[in-house]
C-alpha cells in the first residue's frame, strides 16, 4: 500500500513543480464576459467565503484554472473554513460535523489544517459506511425486485464491499474479484455481482458490466458489439443448494452460449472490436476482466476517475458519469486525462484519488459564483450546490436532535430487523427503508444509474421538513435537542451552539440580532406563556434545519 502511495506522491510532486509557474488568480482577475451575472463582493463578514486569494494547490488547479482563463470565466472565491469543514465531512464521510468538531477545526491555527482534516476523515469508520452506500447504488445492492439477492446475500455482499473500501482495496482488484469469482452467494460475496442484475441473459449481464465499469450505455451500441461482449458472460452457471435462496454462481464450461449470440459469433469480441481467444477450459470472464482492467483500456480508469470526481464535485468531467460516449465529450479533457493517469499511476488507489481532489483549490472554491452560467458550472468555476443525500439528511437530523429512524422492509422473510439507531448511510440493503428516505429521493437501486438518486426538492419533502409530525417530534423531544436547550435556551451561547450544531459555523452579528429580536418578541408577547422562550428556541432550530444552507451541501 505504501508503495502505491509513494507512486502517487511522486506524480503529485511532479505536478507541484509545474504549479509554481501558475497561481493565476492571485492578482488581477480577467474581465468578465458581458452576459455573466455578477454578484457583489462577499465582504469580510461573509460566512461562506474566505478573503484569501485563490491559488493553485496542485495539478488539478493548474488545468482547471488555465481552462477558466481561456474561457474568460472568473472563479469563485475560496470557501471559508466553516464551509470547508462542513463540505469535507459531508462529502468524505456522509456525516455532519458535530458542534465540537466544527469548533475545533475553526479555531485551529495550523495553516495546513485542511489537508490534515482530509487525512483524518479518510480514515474514519464512517468513510467505509458512506462509500459502501455509494457503491451499493452502483452495484444495486438490495434484497428484492427487480434485484433478487435476498437478505443473506445482501448482507454478505454489502459486508464485502464495505471491507474492501475500508481496506482501500485497489480498484482493479475490486473489479476483477466482482467479475471472476465462483462459489456460493452466501460465502463468496463478489459472485453476487451476477445475481444483482435484472436478467441473467448474457446480453443483460454485458449491458450491466458496461454500465458499471465502462460508464457506457449499451442501448446506443451496434448490436454486434453487445453480442460480442455478451459471449464473455455466456458460460455462467447458477445452481441452487439445499439452503433457501443460496445459489452457486460458477464458470460452466459446458454451457451452450445463448442462442441470440451464438447465431452470430463463435468467439467473444471485446467492445473495442478485438477478437478474444479463449483457451479450452478457460473462463471467458477472466479474459474479459484482464482486458477491462488493463491500463491501456480507454474506458476503465477513465470511468472510475470521472465517477470519483462526480461524487465529490457534484458533476462529472463527463456528465452524466455513466454516459460516456464519443458525442458526450468531457468539459475539460486535459483534466480527465490527468485524473485518469494519476489514478493508474497510484495503482488504482481510490482514496489517493479522492485525497488529490479534496486538496485541490478547485474543490475548495466557494459555491457563490462570480459567473453564474451553465458554462461556469461545467468548468468548475465554483462549487456546485446539491441537496444532501436522503440518508445523509436523516443522519444529520438525528445527530442534531438525538432522534432515531424507524426502518421497514418489504421483504416478508427472513425478517430483517434494523435497530432504530443504525445510521441510514450504514444500511446495506436498499430494500430496508423509511418513509422519510423514500420521500427524499433515496435511489431504488434498480438500474445502477446515477440519475436514480433524484435529489430535486419537492413540495412533499418541504412539507415533511417544515411541518411533518416526525420532524416536529424530533425537534421538540429529541434528547440532544433537549440537552442543548437546557444548556441555556435563548441566550447567545445557545444561539452559537445551535448554529455550530446545525450549520457548522458561528452566527453572524446580523443573525444574532435577528434571533434576539425573535426571542424578544415571543417572550414579550402578552399572550406568551411560560414556555415562550423555549418555543422560540425550538423555532430557531426548526428554521435552521429548514434553511437552504442546511438542506444543501454547499
Amino acid at each position: 500500500m505504501s508503495a502505491m502511495r509513494a507512486l502517487l506522491v511522486a506524480v503529485l510532486a511532479a505536478s507541484a513543480t509545474l504549479a509554481t509557474t501558475a497561481a493565476p488568480y492571485a492578482g488581477q482577475n480577467p474581465p468578465l464576459p458581458a452576459t455573466a451575472v455578477t454578484l457583489g463582493p462577499p465582504g469580510a463578514q461573509s460566512p461562506f467565503e474566505s478573503t484569501a486569494a485563490v491559488t493553485s494547490n496542485n495539478k488539478i488547479d493548474d488545468i482547471v484554472f488555465a481552462q477558466l482563463k481561456r474561457l474568460n470565466l472568473k472563479p469563485a472565491g475560496s470557501s471559508s473554513d466553516a464551509v470547508f469543514v462542513r463540505r469535507a465531512y459531508l462529502d468524505v464521510i456522509g456525516t455532519l460535523p458535530t458542534a465540537d468538531e466544527a469548533r475545533t477545526f475553526l479555531d485551529d491555527q495550523n495553516p495546513s489544517k485542511r489537508a490534515a482534516l482530509v487525512d483524518r476523515l479518510l480514515e474514519r469508520p464512517e468513510y467505509a459506511d458512506y462509500w459502501a452506500m455509494k457503491w451499493g447504488d452502483v452495484l444495486r445492492i438490495k434484497s428484492e425486485f427487480p434485484i433478487n439477492l435476498w437478505p443473506n446475500a445482501v448482507q454478505a455482499y454489502h459486508r464485502w464491499v464495505k471491507t474492501a473500501i475500508r481496506d482501500n482495496m485497489p480498484y482493479d482488484r475490486f473489479v476483477r474479484e466482482l467479475l471472476t469469482q465462483n462459489g456460493s452467494n452466501f460465502r463468496v460475496a463478489p459472485v453476487n455481482f451476477y445475481r444483482a442484475v435484472q436478467s441473467r441473459d448474457p446480453l443483460a449481464i454485458a449491458s450491466t458490466v458496461a454500465l458499471t465499469f465502462m460508464g457506457t450505455r449499451t442501448d446506443r451500441w451496434p448490436k454486434e458489439r453487445l453480442d460480442g461482449m455478451s459471449m464473455f458472460f455466456s458460460r455462467i452457471g447458477y445452481k441452487p443448494t439445499g439452503e433457501w435462496k443460496e445459489e452457486i454462481v460458477y464458470f460452466d464450461p459446458d454451457k451452450a452460449p445463448a442462442p441470440s449470440a451464438a447465431g452470430v459469433l463463435k468467439q467473444p469480441v471485446f467492445p473495442d472490436g478485438t477478437r478474444a481467444t479463449i483457451a479450452p477450459g478457460q473462463d471467458p470472464r477472466e479474459v474479459f476482466a484482464t482486458w477491462l482492467i488493463s491500463p491501456a483500456n480507454p474506458w476503465f480508469a477513465r470511468t472510475a476517475a470521472n465517477r470519483a470526481w462526480y461524487w465529490l464535485m457534484g458533476r462529472g468531467v463527463i456528465q452524466d458519469p455513466d454516459d460516456i460516449r464519443p458525442d458526450n465529450p468531457p468539459s475539460n479533457p486535459e483534466l480527465l486525462d490527468y485524473l485518469e493517469k494519476a489514478f493508474v499511476a497510484s495503482r488504482y488507489d481510490f482514496k489517493a484519488l479522492q485525497r488529490l481532489i479534496l486538496n485541490s483549490a478547485t474543490y475548495q472554491l466557494s459555491s457563490l459564483p462570480q459567473t453564474a452560467t451553465p458554462e461556469a458550472e461545467a468548468n468548475f468555476a465554483h462549487a456546485i450546490i446539491r441537496p444532501l443525500d436522503a440518508e445523509v439528511l436523516v443522519d444529520a437530523i438525528n445527530q442534531i436532535t438525538g432522534g432515531a429512524e424507524e426502518y421497514q422492509s418489504a421483504i416478508p422473510e427472513p425478517f430483517t430487523f434494523v435497530p432504530p439507531d443504525v445510521r441510514s448511510i450504514a444500511l446495506g440493503d436498499g430494500s430496508v427503508t423509511s418513509a422519510f428516505l423514500e420521500t427524499f429521493g433515496r435511489p431504488p437501486r434498480d438500474s445502477g444509474l446515477a440519475s436514480e438518486r433524484n435529489s430535486r426538492p419537492t413540495a412533499s419533502q418541504r412539507l415533511q421538513l417544515l411541518n411533518g409530525g416526525d420532524i416536529q417530534r424530533k425537534i421538540q423531544q429529541g434528547p440532544k435537542m433537549q440537552a442543548l436547550l437546557q444548556a441555556g435556551g435563548g441566550g447567545q451561547p445557545f444561539i452559537v451552539n445551535l448554529y455550530l450544531t446545525i450549520l457548522s459555523r458561528r452566527p453572524t452579528d446580523d443573525e444574532i440580532k435577528a434571533v434576539g429580536g425573535y426571542v424578544q418578541s415571543a417572550v414579550g408577547n402578552p399572550q406568551a406563556g411560560g414556555g415562550a422562550r423555549r418555543q422560540a428556541a425550538l423555532d430557531l432550530a426548526w428554521a435552521l434545519i429548514n434553511s437552504a444552507e442546511f438542506r444543501y451541501r454547499h
Binding site: E144, R217, D323, P387, D446, R462, L463, N467, W542, A548
Partner: protein, 437 residues
C-alpha cells in the same frame, strides 16, 4: 440545468438519459382508446375481507348455521334485489350501484389475495405489479399534466400494508397516506397540519426562516435554488393557503358531518368526496376491522351501520353534486368469509377466509346501478354462474377511465407488460363487465 423527466417527455428531447427515462415512464402507446367516463375512483377497501353473506349476498334459506342471527335480508329500491339487514340506508340507494356476487379467485391468504384483488395479477410472478391506485397515478398524475398540490393518490388514513401499492412503478407513484383521524378536529394530515402549532406561529416561523436565510440571500436569483424556493411556496400553499383546506372538514356544516356519521369511516367518506371534488383521481378509504374470525356478529352489528351510513351518504352526496357520473365507487375486500359459521371453539361464532366466492360493489363513473352480476350457490359457498375475477373488475374500471387496457406498463426490465394480464402471459381472457357498462 438538467431537464426534468416531464420536460424530456413533453419536448421529445431524447438523449442518453432521456431515452431510458422516456422508455420507462414515457407515454408511448398511452393514447386513451375508449372515451373516458370516469375521472376518479374512490376505493372503499374492506381490510381483512368482509362477509359476503352478511352484506350483499344474503342466503336466508341456508339456515342459521349460515346466516347466524342475521337471517332477515331486506328489500331495496331495486325490484328483486335484497341485501343484508344491517344495511337499510344502502338499500335505499341500490339503484346507484351494482353488485357482483360471483367474485372468485380461490385464494385464502390475506397478502396474496389483497395483491390479486388490487393489482389484477396472480401472486407469485417475479414482478411486483402496481395496484390500481398507482396505475391511475401514473396515467392521471403529474406525468400527464395533473397540477394539483394534493398528490393524485391519497389513502385515508393508513396504508393498507400487506401489499406494495406502487410495485415496479416505484415510490414516485406510491400513495400519500394522510395519517391521523378525520374524526378529530383538526384532521392532522401528515405534514399539512401540525397540532399545537397555531397559524400565527406558522407565519412567525416562516418569517424567521426568511430572516435567517443568509445563504439563500447570497445565492438570490440563482437558478440553483429555484426548485427549493418553489417547493417552499407549494408546501405553504398546503399548510397556510387554500389547497390544504380540502382536509379541513370543519368547512362542512355540522349537519353534513353528522349525516356521514361521526366515526373515522364516515368522516373519511366526507374527506374523499372533498378530494374528488377537487380533482384528485384516486382515493382509498382503508376501512379496517373485517377480519372477523371471532366475535363476528358483534362486529357486524357495530361496524356495518358505519359502512351503511358513510357509503350511502357518499353515494347520495356525489349524485346530488353531479359527481357520481364521473366517480367510480369500488367497494370490496380481499375475499369473502366462510359461509358456514364456525361455532366451535376457539372461534365461538366466527367466520374464516373465503376466496371461493365473494362480493364486490361498483357504482358511478359510467357503471349502471341496480344490477346484479353472477350468483353463488344456495349457501354462498361456490360461484354458480358468471365467475368474475379481480382482473375483470380492474379492466372494466380502466375502460371507464378511458385507459387503453392493451397499453404497455413501463417497467424496469422493459418487458412487454400490459395494463391487464394477457393470454400471452398465460392468463385467461378478460371478461368485461358488459352487463353494467
Amino acid at each position: 440545468m438538467a431537464l426534468t423527466r416531464r420536460d424530456v417527455i413533453r419536448t421529445g428531447i431524447v438523449g442518453g438519459a432521456g431515452l431510458l427515462l422516456a422508455d420507462r415512464f414515457g407515454p408511448r402507446g398511452w393514447a386513451a382508446a375508449p372515451a373516458a367516463k370516469a375521472k376518479s375512483i374512490i376505493q372503499i377497501w374492506m381490510w381483512g375481507g368482509p362477509c359476503h353473506i352478511d352484506t350483499f349476498d344474503p342466503k336466508p334459506g341456508a339456515g342459521s348455521d349460515y346466516t347466524g342471527p342475521l337471517d332477515k335480508p331486506i328489500p331495496t329500491n331495486v325490484d328483486g334485489l335484497q341485501i343484508g339487514e344491517l344495511l337499510p340506508l344502502l338499500a335505499r340507494q341500490a339503484d346507484k350501484y351494482s353488485v357482483i356476487r360471483s367474485m372468485t379467485h380461490g385464494n385464502n391468504a390475506h397478502e396474496s389475495a389483497s395483491y390479486w384483488v388490487q393489482t389484477g395479477r396472480k401472486p407469485g410472478d417475479r414482478l411486483v405489479f402496481p395496484g390500481v391506485g398507482s396505475v391511475v397515478s401514473l396515467l392521471r398524475g403529474y406525468n400527464v399534466g395533473y397540477k394539483g398540490l394534493i398528490p393524485p393518490y391519497v389513502v385515508l388514513t393508513q396504508l393498507q400494508g400487506r401489499f406494495s401499492e406502487s410495485g415496479f412503478l416505484g415510490p414516485r407513484f406510491a400513495p400519500f397516506a394522510t395519517g391521523s383521524d378525520p374524526q378529530q378536529t383538526p384532521f392532522a394530515v401528515q405534514g399539512v397540519i401540525t397540532p399545537g402549532i397555531t397559524e400565527q406561529r406558522q407565519r412567525d416561523r416562516r418569517e424567521l426562516l426568511h430572516t435567517l436565510n443568509t445563504f439563500g440571500n447570497a445565492l438570490k436569483g440563482q437558478p440553483a435554488l429555484d426548485a427549493f424556493v418553489q417547493s417552499e411556496d407549494q408546501a405553504y400553499e398546503l399548510i397556510l393557503g387554500d389547497a390544504g383546506k380540502v382536509f379541513d372538514l370543519s368547512q362542512e356544516t355540522n349537519e353534513t358531518r353528522e349525516r356521514y356519521g361521526r366515526n373515522t369511516f364516515g368522516q373519511s367518506c366526507l374527506a374523499a368526496r372533498r378530494l374528488v371534488e377537487r380533482g384528485v383521481p384516486y382515493v382509498t378509504i382503508n376501512f379496517q376491522g373485517w377480519d372477523t374470525h371471532k366475535q363476528h356478529f358483534q362486529t357486524m352489528r357495530q361496524r356495518l351501520p358505519w359502512l351503511d351510513k358513510g357509503m350511502s351518504v357518499l353515494l347520495a352526496d356525489l349524485a346530488e353534486r353531479g359527481l357520481l357520473d364521473s366517480t367510480i365507487i369500488w367497494w370490496g375486500g380481499e375475499f369473502g368469509r366462510t359461509p358456514r359459521v364456525q361455532w366451535e371453539a376457539p372461534w365461538n361464532g366466527g367466520r374464516g377466509h373465503w376466496g371461493q366466492a365473494f362480493s364486490t360493489v361498483l357504482a358511478g363513473g359510467g357503471f349502471k346501478g341496480g344490477h346484479v352480476i353472477g350468483s353463488t350457490d344456495a349457501r354462498g359457498e361456490e360461484v354458480r354462474e358468471r365467475p368474475v375475477y379481480p382482473e375483470d373488475v380492474i379492466a372494466s374500471m380502466y375502460e371507464q377511465l378511458g385507459f387503453d387496457v392493451n397499453a404497455k406498463l413501463p417497467n424496469p426490465d422493459g418487458l412487454d407488460i400490459r395494463l391487464v394480464p394477457t393470454t400471452a402471459e398465460g392468463a385467461q381472457p378478460i371478461k368485461r363487465l358488459t352487463e353494467i357498462m
